[in-house]
């Protein structure tokens, strides 16, 4: 091996040349290696990376449809979509999160909870994804943020449409509300149609007509940058907005009814007997549906759920009350039509009634000394209990059941709302089935005055009264009048189903109408105080009182000593004008004591409807 040092210049030049060539070859070889690497990426794996690149930039985005609006019959808006503003941050673009949060906190209110929630979602989101910090900014806050925007890179104020109920609590029980889609609801809806949707109808019409209101989701392919910001729409299938609902509700009448009911808990249903249109749907007390749209706080929710008279409880739909004497017109009709008694035939009322085989047990009349000789009309006018005890006794519970079922008692009315209760129309068979007990004759008597097992919802009373007013044409109550698309074209009309109640003698309808007129016009009419003031039309009605708690046989009922919550419920059903009924009202006022006390409510509503010409024109 050559160990001598090379000092010769040419020798060194030669050595250097070799080295330079080796170095040159070495670098060209490695550059070739780089090129083969690029070739691998760009030619062999081209399809793979090309796909990844497309996936990177193209994103399929759902375009949630705009929810349909809800109007009353006169075009007053009941539910709309309003832009609300939300404060969001893109963490990647924020230099100092804590400083930014602090700085923003000086401009808008940001609670500890907001910050905590922000940090939680920051952990689960990619750094370039926008994270919500505050929702529902006020206009002032939006303005303040706009002015200070330059101080907070990565901050964004995002506008979204959210549901708003401009009428507040008015008719809230009919309209209902929307809320965030829950885990449970995800299992029941067509998830693909709800991509991009955050809210869904929770109660009321918002829930019943959810499918129609929601619309059909659209989609678009968008080009996004690394932050997820949309740069360009590549293609687009626009969403189909939901249908607008035009309701039968008449907000003016609705407010009139709400005000007339006043502070009492209760329900008022106003219907057109001919069309089934529900003009007013009142359940008091009520709540503000706007509270639910963005998620109600636990405190507010408990206040509503546990509060006095439970505002969330829809009395018109779920409230099952003993109909009391408002039951009498229907039983009376059944009685004369079944010929258990002639409509002119009278009997003696001595203030109580006893069954033939049980002289001991007295069934009391509300009037201690009795009404004397009464026929059907008298019994209706004065609301004589003894007459109807006798009538019920002669009919028997099963025949009563069969007749009254025709009027819709014990059945759902089929209104366009979910969760309706069917009330209770007892029968022997029912008692055996449910309570496994035999039916006692005394229970027939109690049922005859609308007490005991008998239960009806305010809506059922309104429907039954409509059938009575229509002389047998029983109609399905309807809140929806028609659906319109965004151009205002009618896409669907509500067609309520009807059925007929056949009487053996059609004249009996008039008999009952006249008898009910006497409730207001008669000398002893239970609602005569209201009747005296009637002007312009004739009303037929029936008062009712439903016991909240039982009173022992010989005990006096003294309203003064009974706490308000334990006072009797007051009921009133009515229709007008007598000759050609156009409006039916059913009222239940909890703890209102006596039906005569709520008859003025019906008059107020009917005056408004029948006497204000322009309103009447609109309503047709």
């Amino acid at each position: 091996m050559r160990r001598s040092l090379v000092t010769d210049h040419s020798e060194i030049s030669r050595l250097f040349k070799v080295r330079a060539i080796v170095a040159g070859l070495f670098s060209f070889l490695l550059i070739a290696a780089l090129l083969s690497r690029l070739g691998w990426l760009q030619i062999v794996e081209y399809a793979h990376f090309s796909g990844l690149s497309k996936e990177n930039r193209v994103r399929l985005m759902a375009l949630p449809p705009n929810r349909g609006l809800i109007y009353d019959r006169n075009g007053i808006i009941l539910a709309e979509n309003r832009p609300t503003y939300h404060l969001e941050l893109i963490p990647e673009q924020v230099e100092d999160i804590d400083a930014t949060l602090e700085g923003l906190g000086e401009i808008v209110t940001i609670s500890e909870q907001n910050i905590e929630r922000f940090h939680t979602s920051m952990r689960t989101h990619r750094p370039f994804e926008s994270i919500s910090l505050r929702t529902r900014l006020s206009e002032e806050e939006v303005a303040r943020l706009a002015v200070n925007r330059h101080r907070f890179p990565g901050m964004d104020v995002v506008a979204r449409l959210s549901r708003h109920y401009p009428q507040g609590s008015s008719a809230a029980h009919a309209i209902g509300y929307v809320g965030r889609i829950s885990e449970k609801e995800l299992n029941t809806i067509d998830v693909s149609n709800y991509r991009g949707s955050t809210h869904i109808g929770k109660t009321g019409l918002e829930k019943y007509y959810e499918e129609e209101l929601h619309g059909i989701v659209g989609q678009q392919n968008v080009e996004v940058n690394a932050e997820g910001r949309i740069l360009r729409v590549i293609d687009k299938i626009p969403p189909l907005p939901g249908n607008n609902l035009v309701l039968n509700l008449d907000m003016e009448l609705q407010r009139t009814a709400e005000q007339a009911l006043g502070d009492f808990a209760g329900a008022v249903i106003v219907m057109q007997p001919k069309t089934g249109a529900v003009l007013a749907f009142v359940s008091e007390p009520v709540y503000d549906p706007n509270l639910f749209v963005h998620g109600i706080s636990v405190k507010d929710y408990n206040a509503l759920r546990e509060g006095d008279y439970k505002p969330l409880f829809n009395r018109a739909l779920f409230g099952q009350y003993p109909p009391g004497s408002t039951f009498k017109p229907f039983l009376g009709l059944a009685g004369i039509d079944a010929k258990v008694i002639g409509h002119k035939q009278s009997m003696r009322c001595i203030g109580y009634y006893t069954l033939p085989n049980d002289e001991e047990h007295r069934y009391r009349d509300w009037k201690k000394w009795g009404h004397g000789e009464v026929d059907l009309s008298d019994a209706m006018e004065q609301s004589c209990d003894v007459y109807f005890y006798e009538l019920a006794h002669r009919m028997g519970i099963n025949r009563m059941h069969d007749y009254l079922r025709e009027f819709g008692f014990g059945d759902k009315t089929g209104i366009d709302l979910f969760g309706e209760r069917s009330g209770l129309l007892p029968s022997k068979e029912w008692k055996r089935r449910v309570h496994n007990k035999i039916w006692y004759p005394g229970e027939t008597l109690i049922a005859g005055i609308g007490q005991g097992y008998m239960l009806a919802t305010p809506l059922q009373l309104a429907v039954a009264t409509s059938a009575l007013a229509n002389k047998g044409k029983k109609i399905q109550p309807r809140l929806l009048k028609e659906m319109r698309d965004t151009n205002g074209e009618i896409t669907a009309m509500a067609v309520p189903s009807t059925s007929w109640i056949e009487l053996k003698n059609e004249n009996h309808w008039d008999v009952m109408h006249k008898a009910m007129q006497r409730v207001l016009r008669g000398k002893w009419g239970t609602a005569r105080a209201t009747g005296w003031k009637l002007k312009g039309y004739e009303m037929a009605g029936k008062t009712g009182t439903a016991q909240v708690f039982g009173i022992a046989q010989d005990e006096e009922y003294d309203a003064e000593t009974v706490a308000r919550k334990l006072r009797d419920h007051a009921l009133f059903i009515a229709f007008a004008p007598l000759e050609d009924p156009e409006i039916v009202v059913a009222i239940i006022e909890e703890n209102g004591e006596h039906g005569s006390a709520v008859a003025p409510i019906a008059k107020t509503i009917m005056d408004k409807y029948l006497l204000e010409d322009e309103l009447k024109e609109d309503a047709k």
Partner: protein, 374 residues
């Protein structure tokens, strides 16, 4: 037409004479100009077509070319005389940064990065200069003693820079030193022996590395293990290159680059932008351009008149290659992510100036040969 032909040659001849007068090598200048112009075009696309960015880069390039021109005026002999002092000052500066860096902690360290960066940049030139200075006076190929001293001269600045920590620069400085020894005639068996020793050294090196450095190596081996963190750069860069295909997506049309998916795309990852927009064909052209410059550098080295010039020129050319290889290797995912820019193309001033100063030296060496040969 003869007259035109004559005019052309005369004109070019005059131009060549001017270049010769200012000691500029027209061949190398041609390569550098084409490359920097192409670089500006890529940067325009990578930098979101920002005029401000372009302006800054043009100013930097002008300064860099000026530095090259100045460096070309310094004869190799003068350079030889200054070398020990440059090296000494560089090491002292490195030491200062080293201790200052140890004292200052927290936010202040950030302010000192600029200061720290300068000495290590100097060492990119000072180290090969120093080794060429040392070895050119020794008998070649270097003996054991020379090799030991050379190793110390290379390792001292390299380790100091690596501990800053700036792995990219340390690698370049180390390679610059190594190539001087290589050109000096380092025996093949020593080279292979040292290579094997280095391999054995890897586990120890692994322990010495910072966590983030280790992470970079791990990320290279399996980028999908952390797709949103350390692996994000490599994944997005590979997507950019791969989706460029054979012909590329076209200038300004790279979706990965233009839509912000590619991080650091105007600096270290600018090659991915180029490969996405110009494809495999563009990459072949660009790498050929680099190869041309490297070839010219080695040619100058081969024709240099003295050992100092030879060793320096050879090392400078190969350092330029290392730059290229490490950057493209990193961007295409075959080397770990170390902060090495694509030479003469990446946005940024310091490395540009250093590189062009090196090319100035190459030109000076080239001119010196011509002067002597005449």
């Amino acid at each position: 037409m003869p007259s035109k032909y004559q005019f052309d040659t005369e004109y070019q001849g005059r131009f060549a004479r001017v270049l010769q007068l200012i000691r500029i090598d027209p061949v190398l200048l041609f390569g550098l100009l084409i490359l920097t112009l192409a670089g500006l075009g890529i940067l325009y696309s990578a930098g979101d077509q920002s005029a401000e960015l372009m302006q800054k880069q043009v100013v930097r390039l002008s300064i860099a070319f000026l530095v090259m021109l100045v460096a070309a005026q310094v004869s190799p002999h003068q350079l030889y005389l200054w070398t020990p002092w440059v090296f000494l000052v560089g090491v002292i500066l490195l030491l200062m940064v080293f201790f200052a860096g140890d004292v200052g902690k927290g936010a202040q360290r950030w302010l000192k990065i600029g200061v720290r960066f300068q000495p290590s940049e100097i060492m990119k030139l000072a180290t090969p200069l120093m080794l060429a200075w040392y070895l050119s006076e020794r008998p070649l190929p270097p003996g054991f003693r020379s090799l030991m001293i050379s190793s110390v001269l290379v390792l001292v600045p390299t380790i100091m820079i690596a501990m800053q920590p700036d792995l990219g620069t340390a690698l370049l400085v180390g390679m610059a030193g190594f190539f001087v020894v290589f050109f000096a005639g380092l025996r093949w068996r020593v080279l292979i022996g040292a290579g094997l020793a280095l391999l054995a050294f890897i586990p120890i090196l692994w322990r010495m590395m910072h966590d983030y450095q280790r992470q970079r190596v791990l990320t290279l081996l399996d980028p999908e293990s952390d797709p949103l963190g350390a692996g994000y750069h490599i994944i997005q860069s590979k997507i950019a290159i791969g989706s460029g295909g054979l012909y590329g997506k076209g200038w300004l049309n790279g979706t990965q680059s233009q839509l912000d998916f590619l991080p650091e795309r105007s600096t270290d990852f600018i090659f991915a932008v180029f490969a996405e927009e110009f494809g495999m064909m563009g990459a072949v052209v660009l790498l050929s351009l680099y190869a041309f410059i490297i070839w010219r550098g080695l040619y100058i080295a081969d024709h240099a008149q003295d050992n100092f010039s030879r060793l320096l020129a050879g090392s400078l050319s190969m350092t330029f290659f290392v730059y290229l290889f490490v950057n493209v290797g990193m961007v295409s995912g075959i080397l770990p992510v170390v902060g090495v820019p694509l030479p003469l193309v990446s946005y940024g001033g310091t490395s540009l100036v250093t590189l062009m100063a090196g090319f100035g030296m190459l030109m000076s060496i080239n001119s010196d040969r011509k002067l002597l040969s005449r």
